[in-house]
Each structure stands twice: as C-alpha cells, then as structure tokens.
C-alpha cells in the first residue's frame, strides 16, 4: 500500500524554480529510472503535499520514462500519478498509463471572449448566470440536449468539435482555436466499450461537478501583463470573458476504468512492476496499449465536442439575455486546451530530437511560437494556456515558450492546485455562507450542490498568483492576462 512519507525526500536546488529528487531515492525494485523534478517557488515547495514527492518518484520508476518525471507548481496528491504530473516515455521501451492521464480524459479549459464590458453585463448578471445554469446542465448524472446515436457517436469520436461545428453548434473559425483543431487523429470508437458509450453519450453538453464550472470573468486594466499579445487575442480592459472547465464526462471515466481493469492483471506477463496499483500500464508497442490510445483519443475528441456544445449554449444564453445575434457579440474562441491527456510529440531528449509519449495529468501543453502543431494565428505568440483558478480568486491566460519545450516537454500548470482535501474543506466551510460572502464580493454563484460549493472554497486552493509567477519567472509560460470572476455556474 502507498505510504505517505512524514518528511520530504532530499532535494537538490537546480535554480529558484526547480528542484530535483535524485534517482537514488528509490533503489529497491522497481527502482527510479530517472530523477524527479519539481517546479515550484520555495514557498510552494514548502507547502506541497508530501504525497506528491512520493507519487512522482513512483512515476520515475515506470519503464521507459525519459529525462525526468516532473510536477508543475500546482501539484497535489492524486491517485497514481500526482495531479500536475508530466512524464514522457520512449515509444519502444515505454508504457502508457491510464492513471497518468486521469479518469476524466481531456478534462480541459476553454476561454471565450465577448465584446461586452462589465458595465453592460452587470445589470443583467444574475439573469445571465441563471439562464446559463439552465442551458448548461451541471451536477451529478445530468444529461445534455444533444442526443447522439450509434453513427453520430462514431463521428464525434473521430471529428470531435468539428462534428459539432458541422451540425451548427459553433462557428467554422472555432476549430483553429482548439488544441489539435478539436479532433485528435488516431481515434477509433470501436475500442470504446458499449458500457462507456451508454454511460457517456448522454452527457454531451454537460459540465459535471467537482471542480468543473462555467465562469463569467472580467479583465481589469492592471491585470493585463502583455498588452501586445492581449490585443492580438482581442482582449481589452473592462472586457467580459467566459471560461469553461469540463471534460469527457462518464464516457472518459468508463474508458479509464475499463482499461485499468484490462491492464492490471497483465502487468506480470509484461514483466512490469509498479509501485502503486493505480499506475497500471501497458507497453506502448502492445496491442492493449494501441487499443487504449484509440479509445483515449475518442474520449478526448468527445470532450472537445462537449466543450463545443457548451460554447454554443453560452452564446445562446448571451444572445437571449442581450437580444443580439449569436454572431454579433464578438464571442469568439480564444483557445481550448486539454490538461488530462497523452500525446505523441517530438522533443529534445539527450540533445537529440525524439518522438515520445507525453502524459499530462493536470498539466497543460504550452508550446512556444513556430511549433508546427499550432495554427498559423499562434505561430508568433505561442500557444495560449488557460489556467483556471479557484472560483473566488481568479484565473489566467498565459502563452507557451520555446524554453518549455526544452525543460518540461512543453508543459505547464493547469490551475491553482488544492492545498486542502475535499473532506477537510467540507468541514471547514459551509456552502450557503460561502455563496453569500462571494455575492458580497461581487461574484454571483448558481450551484447545484451546496456541499460541492464548500469543497471548492478559494481557501482550499494554493495562491494562483504564486503558481503563475513561478512558471512565468522560470520562463516556461508567460502570463498575459488575469481574469476576475463575477458569475459562476457550478455542479
């Protein structure tokens, strides 16, 4: 059983923002193959869950891992991999681990701009939030309005957000503003179980619960850190934007459950010894891994489609509230990023270009300018990185850098990161009180669950500014704009 250590392992300081656990730290079988690297300011390092060090050094012991197992500054204790974990594996000798991606495959963030200013939104804020609460179902076991059948599901698995756009749920130009154009290649719906399909397809266009949300946010003048890039993205002081955090719903969850089930009993045959059962994995060149990757990509595309349908509903909500045409409110997509995913990417390992399978679990891809995967519109700015903070403290837009490709397999943080467990937060905070105090601060929340709201209290999270500044100063992802919440829909 996984033991949480009582003290931190010995760390070597690499610079002000990164620290290393030597690969000698775990010498018993299965021993660490590479060092573990922690990206954090001294303050965040001191606050980090001790379980994170344990978990990331367990990841460092997986077969075929290259360079280092890494955690981003928002890291915290997860199951198997820590949340905020990044690991890349050699395509011949390495593995793929569903627990290194997460149950919520392609959980991710979406940011939509508007032409509206705070002044215009304020008088109708409550009405708008209530209508978005109605249009985008949230909470346990909810169903969406887009009903898809067998053939449609296979198309969604293949074409992701592009399927939605074809069906009228979005603008054609949206696709350039989504990671992989909203449709990752190599998906195959036939590798997804009937159970996963039954569980998941009804969830298209729903938020879910936990830390998932839909938020209306505002840009203050003093929170624009790179005016040039902000302008390029169509962002300005006083402007209102909408942020969405959700993933592949029951479909992705079931795929992860199915494939952990498939891999776990086969570990012995593959000669793989893991330090935590939830790290169960398959050799990348096995048939089983190939099947999982096809299913995982199907779920990823489904998640892009989910956020696309939600975007359509958000545009509809604004259109109803303000009596404007859906395409006449400047509600264009800034970007959509996955933060629970594995992808084959080219990186420099030991001084040579090499294709590896990068796992990001609660970590965002952050490619710098000129990277060929990016649409032309981002070849000068670098890839937009959307970082969702707690519902009380604000969120960020950053851009990726070339340095990230050298240091972190082109990855950075995905959020603020929790410091308090859900169970502890539920005992500490009370949903109704929190809702009232947030309203006093000018944040109107419409939530399905009051206990769920309490679990998401701002104080249960790390200081997002510290997290963002760590990666900004480390040169991994540069901050562009900070957004403050004014309205929130929660599960």
């Amino acid at each position: 059983m996984f033991q949480v250590p009582t003290k931190r392992p010995p760390l070597t300081k690499l610079n002000d923002y990164s620290w290393e656990i030597s690969k000698d730290y775990k010498n018993d079988a299965p021993k660490m193959q590479v060092p573990a690297r922690i990206f954090a300011s001294k303050k965040l390092l001191d606050e980090m869950d001790l379980a994170v060090y344990e978990q990331i050094s367990n990841v460092a012991a997986l077969p075929g891992i290259v360079k280092a197992a890494m955690v981003m500054p928002d890291a915290h204790w997860g199951y198997g991999f820590p949340i905020g974990g990044v690991a890349a594996f050699d395509l011949d000798k390495g593995i793929v681990s569903p627990g290194g991606i997460g149950y919520d495959i392609n959980c991710g963030m979406r940011l939509i701009r508007t032409d509206f200013t705070l002044k215009e939104i304020e008088p109708k804020l409550k009405q708008l939030v209530d209508s978005l609460f109605r249009l985008v179902p949230a909470g346990v076991g909810r169903k969406g309005f887009v009903r898809i059948t067998g053939k449609d599901w296979r198309d969604v698995a293949q074409d992701g957000a592009q399927w939605c756009i074809k069906k009228g749920y979005g603008f054609d130009k949206d696709k350039e503003h989504i990671e992989d154009y909203g449709a990752i290649a190599g998906a195959d719906a036939s590798e997804v179980s009937d159970k996963a399909v039954k569980r998941g397809v009804t969830g298209l266009g729903t938020l879910g619960s936990g830390n998932h949300y839909l938020e209306i946010q505002v840009i203050k003048k003093e929170n624009i850190f790179d005016e040039k890039i902000a302008k390029t993205f169509g962002l300005f002081p006083g402007q209102v934007v909408v942020m969405v955090h959700t993933g592949s719903r029951g479909l992705g969850h079931q795929i992860c459950t199915d494939y952990v089930d498939l891999f776990r009993p086969k570990l012995k045959d593959w000669g793989i010894n893991v330090r935590d059962q939830e790290l169960s994995c398959a050799p990348i060149n096995s048939k089983e891994a190939e099947r999982y990757l096809k299913a995982m990509r199907s779920a990823a595309n489904y998640a892009f489609a989910n956020r696309q349908v939600i975007t359509h509903q958000i545009r509809k909500g604004f259109s109803e509230a303000f009596g404007k045409n859906i395409d006449n409110m400047g509600m264009e997509l800034i970007y959509d990023v996955a933060h629970n995913i594995a992808k084959e990417e080219q990186h420099i390992v030991d001084g040579k270009k090499k294709k590896v399978l990068v796992h990001r679990k609660g970590a965002t891809r952050c490619f710098g300018p000129e990277r060929s995967e990016l649409a032309n519109i981002f070849r000068k700015t670098g890839q937009p990185v959307i970082v969702g903070g707690s519902m009380e403290t604000g969120s960020y837009l950053c851009v990726g850098t070339t340095k990230a490709e050298e240091e972190t397999f082109g990855s950075t943080m995905h959020g603020a990161g929790r410091t308090m467990s859900r169970t502890a937060a539920m005992r500490e905070f009370q949903g109704e009180q929190l809702q009232k105090s947030m309203e006093k601060k000018g944040i109107y929340v419409h939530a399905v669950s009051m206990s769920g709201l309490a679990e998401e209290a701002g104080k249960a999270y790390k200081d997002i500014n510290e997290v963002i500044d760590t990666m900004d100063q480390a040169g991994i992802s540069k901050k562009v704009v900070r957004f403050l919440p004014i309205g929130n829909v929660k599960g």
């Binding site: 997860g78 627990g99 346990v140 076991g141 569980r199 619960s209 467990s421 669950s449 769920g452």
Partner: protein, 150 residues
C-alpha cells in the same frame, strides 16, 4: 451504567487523504457487510441518501478472481448506473460466494431515477480507484479503504 458497546459507524470519510478526491474507510462484520457499507459511503458522496427512496429494484451479478477486484467492480457498477440509467441507489442487499477460483456477487440494489428538485446532490464520482486501496480482515472485522475520483 453503560456497558453497551457504542455502535460503530459503518463508514467514515478520511480527512487527511487524497487532496482532490475523496477517501473513505468502511467496516463490516462480514464481507457482505463491508461491501454494503462501502457502497453506502460511495452514494453518500454523491447524494443525501435520505432523499433517495429504494422503490425500484436493480438486480446485479458480478464475478471477479479476488475480493478486492470484486469490490472495486461493484462500486464502479453503481457509478455506472448513475450515469447510464440516471439511477441513484440507496438500498443494498449483497451476497458474495466463493466458487472454485472466483468470487461471485449477487446483489439486489434499489433506488430511483435522479430528480433534480427532489434529490440533494453532492459531488459526482468518476470512479473507485486502486490508489491506496485496502480490503482486509483482522479478527472478525473487515475494513475497506477506497479513494474515489471526483
């Protein structure tokens, strides 16, 4: 005078465990009981069970090579009904038998379809995970520790 043993809570949520998720410890005098109590902890995470009437029956059968796999599969089956059939479960009759090299579970679950206005909903569970998982028997007591992904 009070020499009556205090009735032990069938499950409790663990405060100092996985930060972003929920961990519980369930106990029972029999394997059937620890399974039932684990299922109750799972449902308690998602909904105020007092609001869910056990009026529709849902019989299930599962088979696994060991008790641990059977428990994880049992919990994930309940999670599955919540999404696939919008069914919230609040009644659990569990019967586990060992047959040759496998464990068989027959259960009569009961509950009702999710209704937003009626049920007090909490956090959605994505899965019961293997992280930190424990199912053990000490003396005459079974204990299960399960981390739920939220």
């Amino acid at each position: 005078m009070n020499d009556m043993p205090k009735k032990e809570k069938p499950y409790k949520f663990l405060k100092n465990s996985v930060t972003a998720d929920i961990a519980f410890e369930a106990t029972g005098k029999t394997l059937n009981e620890v399974f039932k109590n684990s299922a109750m902890a799972l449902m308690d995470t998602m909904v105020d069970m007092k609001t869910v009437k056990p009026r529709l029956k849902k019989p299930i059968r599962l088979r696994a090579k060991d008790e641990s796999t059977l428990l994880i599969n049992f919990l994930n089956e309940i999670v599955y009904y919540k999404d696939a059939e919008s069914m919230l479960i609040s009644g659990f009759k569990v019967d586990i038998k060992k047959k040759e090299d496998a464990y068989l579970l027959t259960a009569e679950l009961s509950g009702e379809p999710l209704h937003m206005g009626k049920h007090i909903l909490r956090s959605d569970v994505k899965a019961a995970t293997w992280h930190n998982f424990k199912l053990e028997k000490k003396g005459s007591k079974y204990t299960a520790v399960v981390v739920l992904d939220i």
